[in-house]
Symmetry: C2
Subunit: 337 residues, 2 copies
DNA sequence: CGTGTTTACTAAATCGATTTAGTAATAGGA
DNA sequence: TCCTATTACTAAATCGATTTAGTAAACACG
């Protein structure tokens, strides 16, 4: 109803607004004990709560950052988000979360709205299709960090998985266990989704390194709803793969669904390895061999990098930080014969 | 650097700030085409972006709400959050997300900070241990909605699962399949966690209704890290349960870990049912019979209720809204002989 | 005793919008 | 022709803090 303002406190304590403001900001340099007490009492009595919006206007800082993700429902996102929030909590910052569903228009709208709301920085899982917008932010030196994806030719700090290494870990692990016909399952290969490209490239490269042929038919690249058909086709071919590498948790789910429906035995009929250490990897039978991303470290680092920029500890060069994946050996890959 | 303000636009377009403001708010009532064009051009030329903070100060509305949860990593939370964000997106509102880890001090701090930041409303998964604070918000008629938990004697809208029904669905399903010795696994039973209490109460009530005895030893109430020991003890007793009811996804995970380690066959040695339809319920072998919460509907409703209050469509009475769980029959419960 | 310094405050400007009250010019009606 | 209405704007107050420049009183020192 009748919001209490600093002026009310000042009046009751018989001092000026300025003095109350000094008090609230703990600038006690030249303030008598007497006055401090009177102000404290007035605040208490009126139940005064400062209006941070007013302060933000003057100070040009909102102690709020925006995090723009594809979809909080994805495990990677949730974990990165949690790590970011933890770092923010330490600095009394707040986090605004937005879901783009990988839609560039939504991304644009959110970035513009959040900037209008004067957030102090943005951590973005970029769709990769708003180049102008990204560039504008760079020009204006607006604190910005990308996570999961990077955008070629756009000098923005990015926190990424070492995707080549992830694929190599998977391939090497399979090859070392005697597998030679290795398939890869992924959503469609489009040019602006860099990690996808890198994982596929890494996959092919690792095969070649091991002296194995790259069989294009073994690379199933389809939208999730059609993946089942793709797998059916793959396994009805005369020489189907002995092992599958799932590019992420969503494709893993499709594969698990498929093997269940078709009664394929893992690891005996088919070995399986995936990127993303899903929650049930340990619990599933057989337990699932996975390549884990250090999601919390990545989120933490993203936030730390952002705060470096917010604090103007500039170090003007932008950096692409690659985080190492970890192979977690379980039972879905076993030695052949 | 040199932020562009409305004054700059006004100067360039040769009109007053007021006119620019009218233009931006699409109050074209008495504005010549000529002027509109000039303003549009000036905005374009300067790359003007409005400062919403300044507007918020005047308008006393930030188009931002706070969502305070235990932990975004929980599936329920993530899904509810996503639904809330969708509703907000439709109204051009933004969402600040905070994790309390079920710590009342963190909860208090967040609520106070967010209110200081003038959020227009709060959706809270309450710890239940900040009664004064909750009451103050009620008194001040601050828009507030609780989710997942409610707080007795505190008249706040709450979006809850019909926990009694959830337990009843589970028990009835088991009993109908011939099970009589049914255990329940839950975190410790503490008085401020109402849903837990309700689920346990519902469990006991459903047993009695079916003419079965309530065996206290069959109710394992332990912190997650100790649950394993609790289960070991339970299954080393002379007459262990034939079926287990997991109160939520976290306890389900513990049980699944336990059965895997101890080579217990589901559903032959032990039937299993749980609240929360985990992502892998379909994929697991056997697929898991679960009681699903309508998480998205709950999140949506929470946001809608909050907006009702924000829009002052008051309807002063507070409401406790109970959402019906759904039994999803799969393979982890089968008919006994 | 006069001047400079320190202490303990305050008045007023400021942040960047919105909004209210007002003004000047033109149009319309009796 | 005079008076009111309408149109197309603007000046100034306002939101609730922060911050700068300033002032009055007490004190310090040669």
């Amino acid at each position: 109803m009748k919001r209490v303002t600093m002026a009310d406190v000042a009046k009751l304590a018989n001092v000026s607004k300025s003095t109350v403001s000094q008090y609230l900001n703990k600038r006690y340099d030249y303030m008598s004990e007497e006055t401090k007490k009177r102000i404290a009492k007035a605040i208490e009595e009126l139940g005064y709560q400062p209006n941070i919006i007013a302060r933000s206007l003057k100070q040009k800082s909102t102690a709020t950052i925006g995090v723009i993700v594809f979809n909080v429902l994805h495990m990677l996102t949730t974990q990165v988000l949690r790590a970011i929030e933890d770092v923010c909590q330490e600095r009394d910052f707040h986090v605004i979360v937005c879901n783009t569903d990988d839609d560039p228009d939504k991304e644009k709208k959110y970035i513009e709205m959040l900037r209008a709301k004067q957030v102090d920085g943005l951590i973005v899982f970029p769709t990769g299709r708003n180049l102008k917008l990204y560039e504008r932010m760079v020009e204006e030196k607006f604190p910005l960090v990308f996570v999961d994806r990077m955008v070629p030719n756009t000098p923005v700090d990015a926190i990424l998985l070492d995707n080549h290494k992830a694929s190599k870990l998977a391939v090497d692990h399979l090859v070392e266990h005697g597998y030679e016909r290795i398939g890869m399952v992924t959503p469609p290969i489009v040019s602006h989704v860099i990690p996808r490209l890198e994982r596929i490239e890494g996959f092919k490269h690792a095969l070649v390194e091991k002296g194995l042929p790259v069989v294009e038919e073994y690379i199933v690249g389809m939208e999730i709803p059609y993946m089942k058909e793709g797998l059916e086709k793959l396994f009805s071919s005369e020489c189907p793969p002995q092992a599958l590498f799932a590019i992420n948790d969503l494709t893993l789910m499709e594969i698990l669904n498929f093997v269940k429906e078709n009664n394929i035995k893992i690891p005996d009929d088919l070995a399986l390895i995936s990127i993303d250490d899903v929650s049930f990897a340990n619990i599933y039978t057989p337990s699932l061999t996975t390549i884990a991303q250090p999601t919390f470290e990545m989120g933490r680092k993203a936030a730390e990098r952002l705060f470096m920029k917010i604090d103007q500890r500039n170090e003007d060069r932008h950096q692409i930080l690659r985080f190492s994946p970890t192979l977690i050996k379980r039972e879905s890959v076993k030695s052949r014969i």
